[in-house]
């Protein structure tokens, strides 16, 4: 006996809309089962993971804070993935964006530089990420090097660059030898949107990126170009779209947005450079992009959901003594469930027994 996936002749829009909901419920059931196997109460875990963060104003803010870099990076990645280009190195572009932007913050540290510092830092963040992203794009278009490998390997290069800087030339001389830079001046700090709150202006950038991308992908020739390049590369060439310039453009955009995420995170949340400035946002954003089905609004929702698992995972670690790895496992289960649900909406499973094909 084997199974076959046969395409469904008609896919109802209701099914397509309900698929992610079904996927979430399935993922929670699977995770609940695992938690039960570990000897904890699934109900308590659900409470800690989902209900508590959503009912507490502090965690709600934290949710937005965590979702901001995820959404920014994932939105950028969606440009690449739509064009069937595999940028796996957003983490590195995030780091280099943060480094280049922070360079200005450190350069102007202690001077009475004015309002221009922050916008310029953000711009440098974008440029840094974009340039880092253009390296694999150039290697691919010029020499045909696989972009998955180069973009991924450049992550480690970027992390080591940061590591060197904060331990070496950029280390705070008064920092008791801790590997970190000086704390940024107020003029180099991204401020909260509301006085005393945690949500900073980066969240607004993410929102703008989502809306702009919705327009670009849905309504412009450039958006169509990406879709066509991804879905039918020969047709894209026939339409007069050069694959080289497409590759360069999407890597620059996704690198730039990752770089922006990096500098806003450093400037708005951390306030200084240190060896680790990301809990793997650049990699998690890949999951977010696909959870959101490469759709800008979908990505926004997916970023919030994944941020929830981060926060829930932290409190579950404290309150239920559940390992943090469980959070990552849950993110994986969630992605698999969403992909499976998507497939099952378009295809149905048919069991075929040998001989009697009914």
């Amino acid at each position: 006996m084997r199974f076959e996936l046969t395409p469904r002749p008609n896919v109802s829009p209701v099914m397509r809309a309900l698929a992610p909901v079904a996927a979430f419920i399935t993922a929670f059931l699977i995770a609940g089962f695992v938690i039960w196997l570990m000897g904890r109460s699934p109900a308590a875990a659900f409470d800690v993971y989902v209900l508590q963060p959503l009912s507490d104003p502090w965690s709600l803010q934290e949710l937005v804070v965590k979702a901001t870099p995820l959404a920014l990076i994932a939105i950028g990645l969606s440009y690449c993935f739509r064009a069937n280009l595999w940028n796996i190195g957003a983490e590195g572009q995030y780091v280099i964006g943060a480094v280049l932007g922070s360079w200005l913050a450190l350069k102007t540290h202690g001077t009475d530089a004015g309002l221009w510092v922050l916008p310029l830092m953000l711009l440098l963040g974008i440029i840094g990420g974009a340039l880092w992203g253009l390296i694999p794009a150039f290697l691919k278009t010029r020499f045909g090097v696989n972009e998955i490998l180069t973009s991924l390997m450049l992550v480690y290069v970027a992390q080591l660059v940061l590591d060197y800087l904060v331990r070496g030339p950029w280390r705070d001389p008064k920092g008791f030898n801790f590997p970190q830079s000086v704390t940024f001046d107020p003029s180099a700090t991204l401020h909260p949107i509301f006085e005393g709150g945690r949500v900073h202006f980066g969240a607004l950038f993410a929102l703008i990126a989502v809306l702009a991308t919705a327009v670009i992908l849905g309504r412009t020739l450039f958006g169509y170009r990406l879709k066509l390049t991804g879905d039918a590369p020969r047709a894209a060439r026939f339409a007069g779209f050069s694959s080289k310039s497409t590759t360069m453009a999407v890597f620059a955009i996704s690198g730039g947005l990752a770089g922006l995420a990096g500098i806003t995170e450093v400037s708005g949340q951390i306030g200084q450079l240190q060896p680790s400035i990301s809990p793997g946002y650049g990699f998690t954003a890949i999951t977010v992009a696909f959870l959101g089905r490469l759709n800008p609004i979908g990505i926004l929702i997916a970023a919030l959901v994944v941020a929830l698992t981060f926060i829930g995972g932290e409190s579950a670690q404290i309150l239920l003594k559940l390992p943090l790895d469980l959070t990552q496992a849950f993110q994986g289960i969630l992605l698999l469930c969403v992909l499976a649900a998507d497939a099952l909406v378009s295809y149905r499973i048919r069991f075929v027994t040998r001989g009697g094909g009914k």
Binding site: L228, R234, A239, G240
Partner: protein
């Protein structure tokens, strides 16, 4: 309309009530078919009539949803091609499954089950080659061979297994007229020795040349079993299509003037390892005429199309001149803006994106169509354009604005050709306009191309279908191994002369040798 050819003894193979359902589509609907020992039986039908499905069921590639297969009166279940071969079936597919880098003998040895060493294969190969007139050099690498020679490998591969029934799927689609005649002689000899042959085709002439019995399929059903020699081509075509097939009107007077396309000494290196280089191509097309380019697949047509469309650029700007402007180094968008239009051979994936809606597919020729403004898509304009194309070119769609892949081959071809014709280009270059398209759609497409020329455009048609070119072209040239024969008025060509050019054995202008 059954014309039973009486014969003694039971049929070799009998299909009874074979049905195959794919979702809502009945690809085969209760098909009955029987083949006598030693008979050459034709299976006729348009593309999409269900011929391939039926043959794949017989060869064990797919399972039928219902029905029975009897082999010498015994019911059998054929679960795989291996079982089919063990039973005594051999099949030559339309698309060859050969390893380009291996030699003829190696390709044959690879496919045989059981213990065969190369020496034995070589010996057997020589024997079969001599008996059936299938000349093959055992040690040549396959990529150096012509399509006709490659087909011989496939046939020899089948014959080595001593088949009782040989199935050939559209075998002449890649052959010159001379090679086809050679194949027919071989098949006659096989049939005389008692091997049955199921011959799948949509070309009436060759079916009448070979077969005494033909089963005609339409929309998954048997519509008639006839003696093709006793019926006229028109009657058979009507059975296949389900209605009378009209002829193309080409009689409108035309006075070609104004050179829309000029290609001068165009050279182009091959695209891939087995691509064909273009060498010194000269070609002119004037407003008001249809220029045909004949040739067997793989002789540089794809490369020529890419060079004309601008998907590949020539060495210098003067190699390609469109509407008086040198464009050899200008990309496809620039050429479209000069009023040129292009339709490549591959519908899905090249001319159209399979998963995109028809309205989105109008954006592919965005450079010349009014579907975008300053980088933004005019969604409504694109929808309107798609709707106009669908209506003007009789494109049958399952819903309002379906994905391109939901259309049948013929309907999608009407759409992609319509997309270009509708903006009245000054020059249109079409590669294989009716490849794999049903007769009704083919007629509509040919008529549209001829009409466009009569309205004052230059039309270049690259085609492997000689009948089509004789029908629509005013002047014709033949491409062979990347070189183009002189362009001559269609009246000065005979099929034989074209065949010789296709093989590259014709002499310089004037002296065409007989076979």
């Amino acid at each position: 309309m059954k014309a039973d050819v009486s014969s003694s003894g039971p049929p070799l193979v009998e299909l009874k009530g074979i049905s195959k359902r794919y979702g809502d589509l009945l690809a085969n609907d209760g098909i009955d078919l029987s083949i006598e020992p030693g008979e050459i039986h034709a299976l006729l039908g348009e593309n999409g009539a269900g011929k391939s499905t039926l043959v794949k069921i017989l060869y064990g590639v797919i399972e039928p949803s219902a029905g029975e297969i009897r082999w010498e009166s015994r019911p059998v279940s054929i679960g795989s091609p291996v079982e089919a071969r063990n039973l005594g079936l051999g099949m030559v597919f339309q698309h060859f499954s050969l390893f380009d880098e291996l030699t003829v003998a190696e390709n044959i040895a690879v496919a045989l089950s059981g213990d065969w060493d190369l020496a034995t294969v070589r010996g057997k190969l020589g024997e079969i080659s001599r008996t059936y007139g299938l000349a093959l050099d055992a040690d040549r690498a396959v990529w150096t061979l012509s399509a006709g020679e490659r087909q011989r490998i496939e046939i020899v591969r089948c014959l080595l297994q001593n088949p009782r029934l040989l199935i050939l799927d559209e075998p002449t689609s890649v052959l010159t007229p001379q090679e086809a005649e050679h194949l027919f002689t071989t098949l006659d000899r096989l049939s005389a020795e008692g091997c049955s042959i199921l011959y799948i085709s949509h070309k009436l002439e060759e079916v009448r040349r070979l077969c005494r019995r033909a089963t005609i399929l339409r929309a998954g059903r048997v519509v008639a079993t006839i003696d093709p020699r006793a019926s006229s081509a028109r009657e058979i075509a009507a059975l296949m299509v389900g209605s009378e097939v009209g002829e193309i009107r080409t009689d409108a007077p035309h006075h070609p003037e104004g050179e829309m396309l000029k290609v001068a000494s165009l050279n182009l290196p091959p695209a891939g390892m087995h691509g064909q280089a273009l060498r010194g191509i000269d070609l002119k097309a004037r407003a008001g005429e249809v220029v045909g380019i004949a040739g067997i697949a793989g002789n540089g047509q794809t490369e020529l199309f890419a060079a004309l469309s601008g998907e590949r650029l020539a060495g210098g700007p003067d190699a390609v001149v469109i509407a008086g402007r040198p464009v050899g180094t200008t990309g496809i968008d620039g050429r479209r803006r000069l009023g040129a239009a292009f339709v490549p051979e591959e519908r899905l994936g090249h001319a159209a994106a399979p998963t995109h809606r028809l309205s989105e597919n109008t954006l592919i020729s965005h450079a010349a169509a009014e579907v975008s403004r300053s980088g933004f898509i005019l969604v409504n304009a694109a929808r309107r354009l798609a709707r106009t194309i669908v209506q003007s070119f009789d494109v049958r769609t399952p819903e309002g604005d379906p994905q391109a892949r939901k259309l049948s081959g013929g309907n999608l071809q009407k759409f992609v050709i319509g997309r270009e014709i509708i903006r009245k280009p000054k020059l249109i270059v079409v590669d294989q306009p009716t490849w794999g398209v049903d007769a009704g759609a083919a007629r509509l497409i040919r008529q549209a191309l001829v009409d466009l020329a009569r309205q004052g455009s230059a039309v270049v048609v690259v085609s492997q279908d000689l009948d089509e070119l004789f029908e629509v072209a005013d002047r014709m040239a033949v491409i062979h191994q990347g070189t183009l024969s002189p362009l001559k008025p269609i009246g000065e060509w005979t099929k034989e002369a074209v065949g010789l050019e296709m093989l590259g054995v014709a002499q310089a202008p004037g002296g065409v040798h007989a076979v």
